[in-house]
């Protein structure tokens, strides 16, 4: 009885079997990369807003503190979104007939809220608390990026779990003195730019970070990466 398959079939089948592993691997890699891509995370994607509010102008240009609008950031899980009243504190005096601010004035007059598009939106199964972060030396800019340079606000980081864990595993890489939390222009200590905390001068981030962990009583990476810390 003659062979049904040609001898070359052996090679093809071997190549297929081994190749399959690579194909699966490649697919998995592609999926993972796709998951991390800005198309999924919306990283760097400026959202259109009913009023083209510019942080660059208000924070970078005018020097308004973060907490003037995000009032709850030090006291609550939610940083707080300013009510229309906050806008009108100034804009009842300034740019009172600017067409760009028509929506703000309408909102104030009618009592109807402005509907902003959310830029930083964590999934509902994540518990995030602003209060604990800003009170333990995590700067606004560490997560939100240089908001003072954003004409329209966008997500500076992916807000994915691996990104969170990067800091939760080693907070000493990012911590800064509490006095610098709201400082957009803060830079990590180096030999050129020294940082002093409690009378001690630091020239490198790791030493500063380790001391701040002790000073602020920050828990161990084991505690910070426990599932129930964020998924309650």
């Amino acid at each position: 009885m003659s062979q049904i398959f040609h001898r070359s079939t052996n090679t093809i089948s071997r190549a297929t079997i081994y190749g399959f592993v690579f194909v699966i691997g490649a697919l998995a890699w592609a999926t993972a990369e796709f998951q991390r891509s800005p198309w999924i995370t919306r990283q760097g994607e400026a959202q259109s807003q009913p009023v083209p509010f510019s942080h660059q102008h208000h924070v970078g240009g005018l020097g308004i503190d973060c907490r003037y609008c995000h009032t709850a950031v030090e006291d609550s899980s939610f940083a707080g979104l300013p009510p229309t009243k906050t806008c009108m504190n100034c804009h009842s005096q300034l740019w009172t007939d600017s067409p760009m601010l028509a929506e703000v004035r309408d909102s104030y007059r009618s009592g109807e809220s402005l509907r902003w598009n959310r830029v930083h939106d964590l999934p509902d199964y994540v518990y995030f608390n602003h209060q604990i972060h800003v009170n333990k030396g995590v700067g606004c800019a560490s997560c939100h990026g240089r908001v003072d340079r954003m004409p329209l606000t966008y997500e500076a980081n992916s807000l994915q779990m691996e990104w969170c864990l990067d800091c939760h595993r080693a907070p000493d890489k990012y911590l800064r003195p509490k006095t610098e939390v709201f400082n957009m222009e803060y830079e990590q200590p180096s030999t050129e730019k020294k940082v002093s905390v409690a009378g001690k001068i630091y020239t490198d981030q790791r030493t500063l970070g380790r001391d701040l962990i002790k000073l602020y009583g920050i828990r161990s990476p084991g505690d910070l990466t426990s599932c129930s810390t964020c998924h309650r």
């Binding site: 998951q35 198309w39 999924i40 919306r42 959202q47 009032t71 709850a72 006291d75 609550s76 899980s77 939610f78 707080g80 979104l81 300013p82 009510p83 229309t84 009243k85 909102s107 104030y108 009592g111 109807e112 809220s113 402005l114 509907r115 902003w116 598009n117 959310r118 939106d121 999934p123 199964y125």
Partner: protein, 750 residues
């Protein structure tokens, strides 16, 4: 459960249950008789240690929960785990999706004090049977979420009860009444006001006006009612509370000549005697939160010396469970024994010739006499007026008045005899004197005494208007129904048991355009529409003499009470009640005891699923009521759990399942009011049986002459008495070995 619409599956379960749940009560009693020292057990099945019970104990899941097996319909545990794993995997996959774009909507003008993401707390009060329960309510961005007691209020000190806790569910209940109805047709507020004005426009028609409310302590509401009565001469105000305190009132009148309120100070009492008084349940005493706390204060700190509690009671209760010495007697015997005790104390001349529980009384009297000024006698809310009068005399004779017992005026605006008030209304209706009847937050068609025939009489009233949270039995019998605003939705005020006034402030605007009794009554007196806020504020502005009303008002709202608005004690001395020469209990046949349901109260909370689901005190029943009998009676009559019986009483028959309640007095049964509602939303309709048709105005809490017969049917009762029991090889052994329940003498405890 008794609507006869059981599925085949249910029937099968019932048969299984009937075959297996057979208790040999004789054996149980024998076992108990042999036991020495403290023994802890949860249920009669556990005590009997039947093979069925042992079997249940060793199963991981109850029989009915694990009966789905492979091959039969449904799925196995393996299938269940497979599906769970798949669900989990898909849930994980869902995490990989792109977050949708969401809007974020800030306030236009953010309320002051608010920190977004953090709750605010507001002091308010809930009214139950006229008495205020001071509360502190948690609110998230304008939505109330959690209710607790107000720690700054003397009547609460942070405590709340199950009705207050569960009332948050009623607030959001979509089955609450939502629209004004005129014979089933939706109508606007203006039409209702027009109908009232039209009815009152005819000359002399004011004399046909009747207002029926529950017990009222709200100073604003009381003043509004007085205004209406002044404006319409001949009009009358009636009050009806199913869980009324008539005997407490009438007892006080017997002792003092006026209806005064009695306050007990159990933190100062060394010896406490309760005469069928359940001061540790929300349905048992309006001041139960403070009483329980004061009592337990003496238990927590043994250095001060523990107080001793003697409980003389009929239906087993929380108080009996906490007592050091409990004596279970029939409800009608309580009065007899109270008289015997009073006789030993030398208050009434001659006690009855023979005293059954002589030893018990002797020890008690000795104990009380050695604690003069530091003892308390508490009569039961559900006992007779004579028992109350005797208790007042005993407290006076023991020197307790001014020490552990004080008297003040009642928190209620007018403390009337509830039954007499309703009887007068019905006779006025039957005499054709009533043309307009306003029923404010009451449901008398369901809960009025059966002998008054109120439902029938209502047909003779020209215009009947009902204000209520639900379209209930009374709403269905009325021409107009007006949805009532929940207490978290409107402004009002209320007095707590101690007399302190709390302003009831809303936490949210009415969800279903409900109105308050204040707004409805204002429609009778003023031409312009007034909000509850305006009415309550105007009243207190007129009462407040100092200049700065605004800051006083803000202080009241913040604190949840008007400082020092509680009553000051009165100096009173109880008269010895003149009692009939011989008091005989009505000992023919079986005695029926009526009690408000531990969770549904008088039935008003029947639509609240949480209160249906929570287990009842002592019996652990859920979602239904039962005919409670003692073990001795069950043994004699051959009754098992769930046996359906017909209870004949006063010429009427009621059908319900039996529940064996250890400790229940013999020759008597307890039925709880509040079930068998016909219109109480989904959660409350057609659950359990209605005991109100048996309850008359002359015997509101107990009556004799009943008989019981088996109907030949058996149902499974929803009870948790055998849930989570632990493996025990011998009665109480395991519990003792592992010290789950610990017991020690006072010396050891110190």
């Amino acid at each position: 459960m008794l609507d006869g619409k059981k599925s085949c599956h249910d029937q099968k379960l019932i048969q299984i249950a009937a075959a297996e749940e057979r208790l040999e009560l004789a054996e149980v009693r024998e076992k108990l008789a042999q036991a020495r020292g403290p023994k802890f057990w949860r249920s009669l099945e556990e005590l009997a240690a039947t093979p069925q019970f042992e079997d249940m104990l060793h199963r991981e899941f109850p029989r009915h929960a694990s009966e789905w097996r492979e091959g039969e319909k449904g799925f196995s545990r393996r299938d269940f785990l497979k599906l769970s794993a798949a669900s989990l995997a898909f849930a994980g996959l869902a995490g990989c999706t792109k977050q949708p774009l969401e809007p974020i909507v800030p306030y236009v003008r953010q309320p002051e004090e608010m920190v977004l993401g953090k709750p605010l707390f507001f002091a308010t009060a809930m009214t139950l049977s006229g008495y205020g329960k001071p509360l502190l309510v948690e609110s998230h961005e304008g939505r109330p979420t959690k209710i607790e007691g107000n720690p700054d209020h003397p009547a609460s000190r942070g405590a709340s009860d199950l009705y207050a806790q569960a009332s948050i569910l009623s607030l959001y209940d979509p089955e609450r009444s939502q629209t004004i109805l005129n014979r089933g047709q939706v109508r606007p507020w203006g039409s209702l006001v027009g109908a009232i004005k039209k009815a009152l426009a005819q000359p002399g028609s004011g004399a046909g006006l009747r207002i029926l409310t529950g017990a009222v302590s709200s100073p604003t509401l009381a003043s509004q009612i007085q205004q209406v009565l002044k404006l319409y001469p001949g009009a009358k105000w009636h009050q009806w509370e199913p869980n009324h305190r008539d005997t407490a009132r009438n007892g006080a009148v017997m002792a003092f000549g006026e209806p005064v309120e009695t306050h007990y100070h159990l933190d100062k009492a060394d010896v406490v005697l309760t005469l069928d008084a359940d001061f540790m349940s929300a349905a048992g005493h309006p001041d139960f939160m403070r009483l329980s706390r004061d009592f337990m204060q003496r238990r927590r700190d043994p250095k001060q010396g523990m107080s001793r509690l003697y409980a003389l009671e009929s239906t087993p209760s929380n108080t009996g469970g906490k007592s050091d010495h409990r004596l279970g007697v029939r409800a009608s015997e309580v009065q007899l024994l109270a008289r015997a005790i009073a006789g030993r104390l030398g208050i009434v001349s001659a006690g009855p010739a023979e005293v059954v529980h002589e030893k018990w009384i002797e020890v008690l009297v000795k104990d009380m006499q050695s604690a003069r000024g530091r003892s308390v006698v508490i009569p039961g809310e559900h006992q007779t007026a004579e028992v109350h009068a005797l208790a007042h005399a005993m407290n006076a004779a023991l020197g307790n008045v001014g020490q552990t017992v004080t008297y003040t005026e009642s928190a209620l605006a007018q403390w009337v005899d509830s039954r007499a008030s309703l009887r007068e209304l019905v006779s006025d209706i039957n005499a054709g004197k009533v043309s307009l009847l306003l029923m404010l937050g009451v449901n008398p068609v369901y809960d009025a005494p059966a002998d008054l025939g109120l439902a029938e009489a209502l047909k003779k009233v020209g215009l009947k208007i009902h204000l209520g949270l639900y379209v209930d039995e009374t709403a269905a019998a009325c021409d107009w129904h007006l949805p009532e605003a929940h207490y978290l939705e409107h402004w009002s005020d209320v007095r707590s048991f101690d007399g302190s006034v709390s302003i009831v402030q809303p936490l949210i605007a009415p969800l279903y355009s409900g109105r308050s009794a204040h707004e409805l009554l204002a429609a009778l007196t003023v031409s312009t529409e007034q909000s509850s806020y305006d009415i309550v504020r105007a009243y207190w502005r007129s009462q407040y003499k100092d200049a700065d009303f605004e800051s006083a008002w803000r202080r009241w709202l913040h604190d949840g009470l008007l400082a020092n608005s509680g009553f000051t004690p009165k100096q009173l001395f109880a008269k010895t009640p003149s009692l009939p020469a011989e008091m005989k209990p009505a000992v023919q046949g079986i005695e029926v005891i009526f009690r408000p349901d531990p969770t549904l109260y008088d039935g008003r909370f029947a639509a609240n699923g949480w209160l249906q689901e929570v287990q009842k005190t002592v019996s652990t029943l859920t979602w239904e009521n039962a005919v409670m009998v003692g073990a001795r009676m069950a043994q004699r009559e051959g009754l098992q759990y769930g046996d359906v019986v017909d209870l004949d009483y006063g010429g009427k028959t009621m059908r319900g399942p039996v529940y064996i309640l250890p400790g229940h007095p013999d020759h008597s049964v307890t039925v709880h009011l509040g079930y068998g509602r016909t219109r109480a939303a989904l959660a409350g309709t057609a659950k359990g049986f209605d005991a109100y048709p048996l309850r008359t105005s002359s015997a509101p809490w107990f009556g004799g002459g009943a008989s019981l017969r088996k109907a030949g049917e058996r149902i499974t009762l929803a009870t948790v008495r055998n849930h989570h029991v632990m493996d025990i090889s011998e009665l109480g052994k395991e519990a003792a070995a592992r010290e789950v329940v610990r017991s020690a003498t006072l010396d050891e405890f110190r």
